[in-house]
Assembly symmetry: C2
Homo-oligomer: 437 residues x 2
């Protein structure tokens, strides 16, 4: 292998992650050559605006503004797509595959929205797409699901897969900050974008959940198939009540194969996690993914879910994989296990769990009876009730935990409760996770 | 790939793990064929005594008592070595490599003691050895270090890599059991062997640490190079004092590259872990490995460290890797990164940390002064002292935590302290881990 030619990279994008990949490829070049047997060289970097001020300087002699320069250059073996978005990135990846170039991408939105098309194209061209960086930053969860757990039917995945949300919830829990204060802090520290919508509304996590679900079950889960809820409505009161009940609140991506039905449950929701569960100890911007497999049992993978260097680590691992095996072997499937359809998305209304329900009600006799009756009419059992003695004049919180029930039934009941005259604010409904496989 | 011939396995050993591999290969055969594109078939099983009663029945038509039948059969692609020990297993693996067969093994003692020879032989024959199951059961830590973190200089690894010890320490901590009671319980539950020596004396963890260190730094660490201490001397008092100081006690395998020196620290010792550190939440027979890489930062991998099914999951992942890539590509290095020597083992006496020291002393004036003077004479700073008011007649415990110091210096000081007339029992010395990379 000492005589193998250098592996030539065409890098699209030189933002936070792109610059990190370049920096770390240069820094650890000798190490990577020792380990892979090949010299890995960035041949071309495409950026939209070379004049833009940057934290890491662009190497001027290899810069271009044309993405086509990457795919048209026959010397480029691998196109590394780190421009983000789903327009120019989609064109670039399509073109690269059509020219039989290996693709490495960290673009979760691109894969979640266009994965079906791109992997089919890659399969037809026998050209792999690598995407370790698309889910959970530095955590090697894609390789784990694709390769290390290959002998397993995946029974369930529970993931803390959005670092911004986890940072906000951690600070609300540990420092007693309000949602707004914690979000401000996350933005000041650079953990949240100027527009944090995709992070806090659950969709960043949802894109990752779609990729993990599709990978685990060999069918493509559509964005329209899944239920997504963010953390925007969580208050300090919810954090305190959850704590009183023995839980912490986490934004979880949950993927689960329902035994015997072939139905796959995929959802992102704020959820109550038992305080002594290992996922409860995942704090700040860290991510963690808990996987149950029918052979391995329970495993967990923890690490930085974002950031320049951690994400580079995953991109570089993909490049090294390409350097060592596929280019040399000359044959690989599209990088996504498309063989066989193992299940169908479960409508979220059929998904079953326990629940946390917080209501703000008028402080008068008979209120709890009305609420309990509504729940009873829908066949929903009450597990516990907290009604604090101290509260504001005329308005009091009531927190209930509810027994296992289908989400649709609970939503209907909560809808009715919300319309009761005694209920003074929009109810807050969360899952209480039981972590059964 | 649909027309690829079946991959034929020669399975050596049908004990707990061997039977699990057979059972799960049969159970998930269709799934594995979908995912790898190849049918994976066990062609021959070699056992010492076919008549022995077994939990999982041997398939009689493919059984042999000759290990040679596996290596002599030209139809067998992969020899899976699960007989354990370092005698017959060594001969089998050597022979298999010489005949250019791929080897899959879960034998940590074999690799820790003969890895240098075996990987050199494998390299010469361009035949891979896979060994995911040799470290941490179902946790895919070998692939993670070899592939996912390939772009990283590994700065440190801290692992809970012996489930039996972790079970015993967990039960001592959570249920207040004595060491003996917890060990009995572990044996009754099948978590500890009838002879638990290798588990509780630290050597099972040490074999795994040797493999991880060698893999991380590309040089071979010898058993004589490392320092190993077990949990046999930990008492309930240590658990309580550690708790009072804000720590839990864990048996840690620690591997660390000392910046700027090229020295590698490798040791297995009971260590104090801060109560809110993620490793403190790893309980019972679970294992976890915390890795610091210069690019990725901090990552952790958690799961079942032993057991029939989890270990099978890793063996089957290795078999699937062989099925998909190497057999087809026809070329691979020996499975161990031998390129380059990144460092040298650090003598344990030079390794630096904070410490916990528990002494049993005569209850008389001036004792603490004598101890403090001895420590001071060696230049060792005292961080805290606990001297409980209640204690037995004439004999009192003193617990000290000591500032960062070289282990050799601390050992010398503690040796002097042990010989003081006022000290009535062998001192208990543990590391307080700081988890710096």
């Amino acid at each position: 292998m000492a005589d193998a030619p250098p592996l030539q990279i065409g890098l699209a994008g030189f933002g936070n992650v792109g610059a990190g990949v370049y920096k770390n490829l240069v820094r650890n070049r000798a190490l990577l050559k020792q380990r892979t047997g090949r010299d890995i060289v960035v041949r071309r970097i495409a950026v939209r605006d070379p004049a833009k001020p940057r934290a890491h300087a662009l190497p001027p002699d290899i810069v271009t503004t044309r993405l086509d320069d990457l795919v048209e250059d026959p010397e480029i073996d691998i196109v590394v797509e780190l421009i983000g978005g789903t327009d120019r990135a989609l064109d670039l990846v399509r073109e690269a595959i059509k020219r039989d170039k290996t693709v490495v991408t960290g673009n979760k939105a691109l894969l979640a929205e266009h994965g079906l098309e791109l992997f089919a194209l890659a399969e037809a061209h026998r050209t792999p797409i690598y995407f370790e960086a698309a889910v959970a930053g530095g955590i090697p969860i894609i390789k784990t699901v694709q390769e290390s757990l290959i002998g397993n039917n995946i029974q369930s995945i529970h993931g803390i897969i959005n670092g911004t949300s986890n940072y906000i919830l951690t600070r609300m829990t540990e420092a007693g900050l309000s949602y707004g204060e914690a979000l401000d802090e996350a933005q000041q520290l650079g953990y949240a974008e100027a527009d944090p919508a995709l992070d806090v509304n659950g969709w960043d996590a949802a894109h990752k959940a779609i990729i993990l679900a599709s990978l685990s079950y060999g069918c493509w889960v559509k964005t329209s198939d899944i239920f997504v809820e963010g953390i925007e409505r969580i208050t300090g009161a919810d954090i305190l009540f959850a704590n009183q009940l023995g839980y912490v609140i986490k934004l979880l991506g949950v993927i689960r194969l329902l035994p015997g039905t072939g139905s796959i449950e995929v959802r992102v929701q704020p959820s109550l996690v038992p305080r002594d569960h290992i996922l409860a100890s995942v704090k700040g911007v860290y991510n963690a993914i808990l996987i149950h497999g029918d052979v391995v049992g329970e495993t967990l993978f923890y690490g930085p879910g974002a950031g320049q260097d951690p994400t580079s680590s995953s991109v570089i691992a993909d490049i090294a994989d390409a350097a060592m095996w596929e280019v040399q072997a000359g044959e690989r499937n599209g990088g996504f296990v498309t063989h066989g359809l193992y299940g169908n998305p479960l409508p979220v209304d059929e998904s079953v769990s326990k629940y946390y329900l917080r209501l703000q009600v008028r402080d008068e006799p008979g209120v709890l009876a009305q609420i309990a009756r509504t729940l009873g009419d829908h066949g929903i059992g009450i597990l516990s009730v907290i009604q604090p003695e101290e509260h504001e004049e005329e308005s009091a919180p009531i927190v209930l935990t509810l027994h296992f029930a289908a989400f649709g039934v609970v939503r209907a009941a909560v809808g009715e409760i919300a319309s009761l005259e005694c209920v003074r604010a929009l109810p807050v409904l969360m899952r209480v996770e039981s972590f059964t496989a």
